[in-house]
Point group: C2
Chain length 354, copies 2
């Protein structure tokens, strides 16, 4: 008797496939490839709600004109270590990758640099961009928010004000980088939608119903009026996550100079990227010594339960290595959702590995 195994795909085949779709939908230059690479990277790291699952939606946005397919961002300000772009609703995955690359270039010159992108389209999974910086020995912080969407309430409230406001940080060590991907809310909109679709519940009281009662039911987010996602810390100490939300919204929409005050209505993103070059501070070697020490100490912490302590990014990087070596197992349904788009554009769906 054999167990049915999920089909696996060569990573490059999936990237080429998705890139062909974005090109067919009108994206110019390196955008099709950059968006495909960024989405697949999320799948490789295990962030499957923010990988190729987003591709059909992005294509829909391109087709409706809500995502700008071609051209460059406008430079709002450039002070060397501080750069601001208007993203003109260009593909956010492409914009974010370029913003990280620019922030790295500038940090190598100034020691630190900030790049802010307002009016981007959705940027996908923040963790997917971290290794662009850590591979160059740089520490990177990426934050994003969407001023058109509000699903997270301030602590003590039940009217939503924020998006989950993710914050990702890449920290080089002498070995694998530490890849942190957290957010101001306990869980995300994408996870709430997926659990709802699958008839599941949150593992804890991660939301409030519209009347303010804490709940583990993702359906609470989809009532009229809707409930809200709880900030990190939950009902117990959610002022901490509330603080993170305000920080992320100020760094993204505040510095970008465009946000909720303008009441935008279209799905989009505001992006903040900060890069630090350890060589400009206490030295690259000293930095790696400290961060490597931390990684070792965390893994060596006696387990409080059955599982050993992991370092953030460890599991994702292991998944990524295995997928690159043995093929990518996509989360159920992702390729099915892309098939009609592929058929419409006459792009062949990649064959699984045998």
């Amino acid at each position: 008797m054999t167990t049915a195994r999920a089909p696996r795909f060569r990573a490059a085949d999936l990237t080429d496939f998705a890139a062909a779709l974005f090109a067919a939908a009108g994206c110019d230059g390196d955008k099709p490839n950059a968006v495909a690479v960024g989405l697949l990277e999320a799948d490789l790291l295990g962030h499957t709600t923010h990988g190729l699952q987003l591709a059909p939606t992005y294509i829909g946005e391109l087709e409706s004109g809500a995502m700008t397919p071609r051209g460059e961002p406008d430079v709002v300000a450039d002070r060397g270590a501080a750069v601001t772009w208007d993203g003109r609703r260009l593909p956010g995955v492409w914009l974010a990758a370029r913003a990280v690359d620019l922030a790295c270039d500038r940090a190598l010159k100034f020691g630190t640099a900030t790049v802010v992108v307002r009016n981007s389209h959705h940027i996908g999974c923040l963790a997917a961009f971290l290794q662009r910086a850590t591979d160059r020995g740089l520490m990177v912080t990426i934050a994003s928010s969407d001023p058109a969407v509000a699903t997270v309430a301030p602590f003590g409230g039940r009217t939503p004000v924020f998006t989950p406001d993710p914050l990702a940080v890449g920290i080089p060590t002498s070995g694998d980088p530490i890849l942190i991907d957290i957010s101001a809310s306990i869980t995300t909109n994408g996870m709430a939608a997926r659990l709802r679709r699958e008839g599941k519940r949150f593992p804890g009281m991660w939301a409030r119903a519209a009347d303010g009662a804490p709940t583990d039911d993702p359906n609470a987010l989809f009532t009229t009026p809707p409930g809200t996602l709880l900030p990190v810390g939950g009902v117990d100490h959610g002022h901490k996550g509330y603080g993170v939300a305000l920080i992320v919204e100020a760094l993204t929409q505040g510095l970008g100079g465009f946000g909720r005050a303008e009441k935008p209505t279209r799905w989009g993103g505001s992006v903040f990227v900060q890069v630090h070059d350890p060589a400009a501070f206490g030295g690259a070697e000293a930095f790696a010594r400290e961060t490597s020490w931390l990684a070792v100490a965390c893994r060596a912490s006696a387990p409080a339960g059955a599982e050993p302590v992991r370092v953030p990014g460890e599991r994702g990087l292991a998944r990524k290595r295995a997928a690159l070596a043995n093929g990518v197992e996509l989360y159920a349904g992702i390729l099915d959702a892309l098939a009609p788009v592929a058929a419409r554009y006459g792009v062949p769906v990649p064959a699984p590995l045998t």
Copy 2:
């Protein structure tokens, strides 16, 4: 029948008193006043575990030679937008205030600037430095850690690796600034010690006993071997606070190039300061429009319980205004603890307002 009221003091009398003690203990130049102002500011804002309560301990550190009383920090690196100091164990409250001021000066020139201080002494309350930047219209992030102390375990572990690793952010608006003061752990060492002293418990399961069991008993931190403080998110989603701890430790000790890898044993601090000048990004006016909108929207969020939603810093600033107008009510016992020190140096204890 009258109710006994706690004695109140003129803020300037308390500052002068504490400054006289630090001068008597050997601090030179503007250090006595700067440390006194920084500690009192914490009391004014309500962070009473990190205000004048620390003064007797600081004086003890000066007397034992563990805190350097005189001189300047060494400049390890200066790349304009990126500055690193070795604090030579000088008073951390003074170093942190100067680091914030320098980061502001540099951010006005470069748009953003980072100042890192390694080998500082304890810096007190991070929130006490925020208005130095927000009063100038700048957004500031301050983080600190102490590589000689470990009371917080990584998520899933029970061997401590981190300090609570506070993170404070000041966000200018068109009215009062938003003053955020959070940390990687749910609660702090200072609060654990105070609750233990007072025979109280944490309001939630904020710690682990040495065997890994979640507990609300602050005594668990003082067993042999000791228990640990839980990262933000607690047993439910503590990987979020664990991420914040790694971020703060990398920004402070990693960039500073001095930390746990060197196994320091003396109470001290590593400090990270980042300042952004909104005028160098999307504009100061646009920034204030967005952040003011957020503050209004948060206050307008329908309460989930009985209390209206507050904006971080709101209560502290109200306390501060009242204390400056009507006198400072110190947390019980603070002045009693300072009286013997004052007697030793022949510095008169200030008289309460009548």
